[in-house]
């Protein structure tokens, strides 16, 4: 998704403004006039400044080409993927599957959540059912055994907790 500098610059300017306003609520350190708000306010002001440069430049360029009678590019140019339903699905699937993991890994457990996530994305991209499931199984089992079991990363088991021993053959 390509956004014109006016839009991205505007977003940065808003962020800069929020940073500056928020920083005003911080106290100063003992005995000196500086504190936890000092650096954020510099960062915020600089952000506003540089986004101003971007916005101005884009506006001037647009005005110049308008004067010449040329057509300006639209403010938002969507990527190729927007033009088809499957493209939108593919694109949305990545963040959606990570959100799925964040929300459900504690109750469904890592093993199941990760397996579902990888096999779904595999199938979405490759459209090969068997290979998708197989790869997902191999990868998830490796992660669970190597990191969960051997390296003792506390990957959640969720409702499979009572069966965790059986599932890892230990």
């Amino acid at each position: 998704m390509k956004l014109d500098d006016i839009i991205t610059g505007g977003l940065f300017a808003i962020l800069g403004l929020v940073i500056v306003i928020y920083s005003q609520s911080f106290p100063t350190m003992r005995h000196i006039a500086y504190g936890p708000g000092f650096f954020p306010s510099i960062v915020g002001v600089a952000m506003i400044g540089y986004s101003g440069v971007l916005i101005l430049r884009s506006m001037v360029l647009r005005w110049l080409s308008w004067r010449k009678g040329l057509e300006n590019s639209p403010l938002v140019v969507a990527g190729d993927w927007v033009r088809s339903g499957s493209g939108i699905l593919d694109m949305a699937a990545i963040p959606a599957s990570v959100i799925f993991y964040i929300l459900l890994s504690d109750s469904l457990g890592f093993y199941l959540t990760c397996f579902l996530l990888v096999s779904f994305l595999n199938y979405l991209f490759s459209k090969q059912f068997g290979r998708s499931l197989f790869t997902a199984l191999v990868v998830t089992t490796f992660l669970q055994l190597f990191f969960g079991k051997l390296m003792m990363v506390p990957l959640p088991w969720g409702f499979l907790e009572p069966y965790s021993g059986v599932l890892t053959w230990m």
Binding site: M91, L143, F147
Partner: protein
Amino acid sequence: MDVIFAALGLLWDPTVIGIMLACAVYGLAVGSIPGLSASMAVALLVPMTFFIDAVPALAGIVTLAAMAIFAGDLPGAFLRIPGTPASAAYADEAYKMSLQGKGERALGIGLVCSAIGGVFGALVLLFAAPSLAKIALKFSTFEYFWLACMGLSAAVVVSHGNMAKGMLSLFLGLFIAMIGIDPMSGQIRYTFGNSALIGGLGFIPVLIGFFALSEVMRFAALRVRPTHSASTVGNVFSGLGQDVIRLRYGILRGCGLGTIIGAIPGAGADIASYISYAAQKKLSKNPEKFGTGIVDGIGPASAANNSAVGGAFVPATVFGIPGDSLSAIIIGVLYMKGLNPGPTVFLRQPELITAVFLAFLIANIMLVPFGFAAIKMFKQVLRVPRTLLMPSILAFCIVGAFAVENAVFAVTTMLIVGVLGYLMEENGYPIAPAILGLVLGPMLEENFLSSMMKAHGDFAAFFERPLAAGIAAVTIILWLYPVLSWGFANLKAHRNKALS
């Protein structure tokens, strides 16, 4: 010399050799898998070090570090995803080379320069650690403040192109580092009342988001997907000698910069490679070629990240001061093994600490054959279709983010930053300055506030100490250099005109 032989004797032991080999393989695997970082791999090894002796434990860890930092180059060159943050500085450069069918040159120079840098760092450790540490003892927060300022100026150089966008990226990185409890004042900043944000956005999850998740999204956005990696890898070593000889000064500079930056608390291998890249570009006769796929962008930076690991061991072993997250863990293991870091460890048990340094030296020499084998193996991995590879990489990213923080929120961090990184790259905002801001921002702020508190709010204190004033002068000249050189050139042209 006796000490070195005694140390070699300690390493010449089946257990030590076995553990070093196992760690070498583990390091290469972790380094080459996107989402898994060297610091995570070392942190996960800590529980195991409890059951083994000091020498094999530490020899294993340093071997792991050396291998992982190189192996990060592999997915960088083929998938544009750096395997560890240390390879991020030149992942794009190497990827562009592999698109041009020159992947083997990119990896060859990366491998050899990693080994050179690592050996350099190890030799410095072996022969100069205590005397170098004496110099480090002269540095207070005033000096570190100026060093952070100097490091930030690299942000402009690594921006490639639009300066305003590079600066916005830098300030975004500075802002991200501010979220959470401020270690100086204890003030909670920019959490907007959300208690999950109190710990801030974890450094490793942020990097995984910026570099790996955003790349997975870019893959999903493609309408015509490459099923397999386009490039084939030829002979890794062809033409390598010429490249190394041509870049000899750059590589040497990379080694030096890496060792010094590694030794500075707060900055590690990742920053070392960015700064070395920036220095090489700045001093190059054709800086415009950087970012289009040339070996000049890879060699010096690759030497810098491996030598930074050695550099970080200097303050870590001599004073117990961590240079980066990796050496922080190693210090913990040293304490656990009763080898309390300090000058006495060099006096009381010199053969033990020398054995660890020698292990690091050997690991970096072993890097050449092991790395060569890893490149061959990695080619096999690339035969897996991308459509099945990318979802698996996502799974590794989730585990890699979770495992460093032991919290699901790390996965959330990765997601948010990943989407942000994708949008930034789509719109021409470089990521590199944000990483510099992320690391150097806290260093800058903490050293500034600490110095100001010591000086009772008097800014002149930053110029009062001779060392601080010296570094300040260098920094300011560096900043004013573009203006000065422009003015000087104008003056010269003017005079030439007047003369003629």
